[in-house]
């Protein structure tokens, strides 16, 4: 739950110009409107199907990256790289912030 909240807050904090933040927000909105985890399950299933069909090792690298970065399924490679850079940066910030929180609250 916290993860969800933190992800969403992060996504909304980042300027929504980046596709991945929009993807996170959309995902959550669908959560609210259509019931639990509908969209997420869909995405996950798609990925799992890929894995099953091809075998985990044979997923190509860009596809792996697409699976990791939210909203990465629909992007072309070039955009994907850009979004990945942004996403990494924000993840690092998120991690730092959460680590600080944990450190302060659990001495």
């Amino acid at each position: 739950m916290i993860k969800l909240a933190s992800d969403i807050s992060l996504a909304s904090a980042v300027t929504p110009k980046k596709a991945w933040s929009r993807a996170i927000l959309e995902r959550f909105q669908l959560h609210l409107k259509h019931g639990r985890a509908l969209k997420r399950v869909t995405v996950l299933n798609k990925k799992k199907k890929q894995e099953v069909c091809r075998g985990v090792e044979s997923i190509s690298r860009p596809d792996k990256l697409r699976g990791l970065v939210p909203g990465g399924e629909r992007m072309d490679y070039c955009t994907l790289l850009e979004e990945t850079a942004d996403y990494i940066k924000c993840l690092e910030t998120q991690v730092k912030a959460m680590a600080d929180i944990v450190k302060s609250l659990c001495p």
Partner: protein, 378 residues
């Protein structure tokens, strides 16, 4: 933190933010004008030189140079500033604003990428040359992603050019044939290579829809390959950025391994987030219901919007902590309200206040806390 450091950080950033925007526009305009080393070009083109120069609008390049000079200084201002305050605030506030600008994206995270690349602007201009720390990677030239779409590719291409010097004339002929054909605009700004290796595809006046394109010496000049080349260059530039972002990727050669490394890093970060979130969840019994509707539907970056109807009326000191996520309604970076709540949590708690000063974006406070109070605390 109080408003003073916040404003001091925000102002140069704001300037810096506006500047690269203009910078990018200038670059784009610049690239479309195709600044040339005109003398060498003349020598090579011969008859076509006058025509080419007329079409090239050299005066505009002069403007662009000065513009770039200014923005270059602003860059260094911002960058220096960003580097001075190397702690989280610089990073996080930049994270918000500079997400659009890949330069800031990498440069500002000074603790993440301390070996930031040296930014070198277009050839013949002395303007945008500022080195953060000169990258170990930067040979004679380095990649610059000045804008999302512009890349300056430096002397690596130069070397390619020198090797193919013999093909120069052939390529020229080809180009001149292509002159009347389709051209595409590219976002690339390419270095004017000193030895007159530039070839410019001139625009035929009767087809104003086509835009200048610069082809490189000895390379195919048909539209498809040009587009592909542009795309490849873009991809390479972004890969380079990613390499700098991900620690330890600089030494790896080869795109595939770098990609693997990047994927690993992303997975690692995600796992960390999960782990930390579980830890937090264990510490705090979560009583608060999040009302995300107001949270999601409202405009981003509205400061002080207290559109929370959530039952974060659980104002127990500890429960306030989990309330930070609905609290941060619109685009406020997460750490800030965290710091806020932490301040509420303990009166004189010195938790990460220096680390998380809010950007100029205001914190949305919990309903119990007045915004002014909030700002003062931070």
């Amino acid at each position: 933190m109080d408003s003073l450091p916040e404003s001091s950080t925000s102002i140069p950033f704001a300037q810096g933010v506006s500047e690269p925007f203009h910078f990018g526009e200038e670059i784009r305009g610049f690239s479309s004008e195709n600044h040339l080393d005109s003398s060498s070009f003349t020598a090579l083109l011969g008859l076509q030189s006058s025509e080419a120069l007329v079409l090239l609008h050299p005066p505009i390049s002069g403007q662009n140079i000065s513009g770039k000079g200014n923005s270059g200084q602003n860059y260094s201002t911002v960058l220096n500033h960003g580097e001075v305050s190397t702690t989280l605030p610089a990073n996080a506030s930049l994270v918000e604003r500079a997400a659009k600008y890949s330069v800031f994206a990498t440069k500002a995270e000074s603790d993440i990428a301390p070996g930031s690349f040296s930014i070198e602007s277009n050839s013949g201009d002395t303007s945008g040359k500022f080195a953060g720390d000169s990258d170990s990677q930067s040979k004679e030239g380095s990649y610059v992603a000045v804008d999302d779409r512009t890349v300056t590719i430096c002397s690596r291409e130069k070397q390619t050019m020198k090797r193919k010097e013999a093909d120069q004339l052939k390529a020229f002929e080809r180009l001149l044939q292509v002159k009347a054909g389709t051209k595409k605009s590219k976002g690339d700004v390419e270095n004017g290579r000193g030895a007159g290796s530039d070839e410019n595809v001139t625009r035929s006046p009767e087809k104003p829809a086509y835009v200048h394109v610069r082809a490189r010496r000895g390379q195919a000049t048909d539209s498809h390959s040009l587009a592909e080349r542009a795309r490849r260059e873009k991809i390479n530039a972004r890969m380079k950025l990613l390499q700098e972002l991900v620690p330890g990727c600089n030494k790896i050669s080869g795109t595939a391994l770098v990609l693997d490394e990047i994927i690993n890093h992303v997975q690692y970060l995600q796992r960390q987030v999960e782990f930390l979130s579980m830890r937090l969840a264990a510490v705090h019994p979560r009583v608060v219901d999040f009302n995300f509707d107001s949270f999601l539907s409202s405009e981003p970056f509205q400061p002080f919007s207290l559109g929370l109807t959530a039952s974060n009326g659980v104002m127990a000191a500890r429960a306030e902590e989990p309330a930070w996520s609905p609290v941060q309604v619109n685009g406020v970076q997460r750490p800030w309200p965290t710091a806020t709540c932490a301040n509420q949590y303990e009166g004189t708690h010195s938790f990460s206040v220096p680390q998380n000063p809010p950007p100029s974006l205001a914190n949305s406070g919990t309903p119990s806390l007045r915004p002014n109070q909030l700002k003062m605390e931070l």
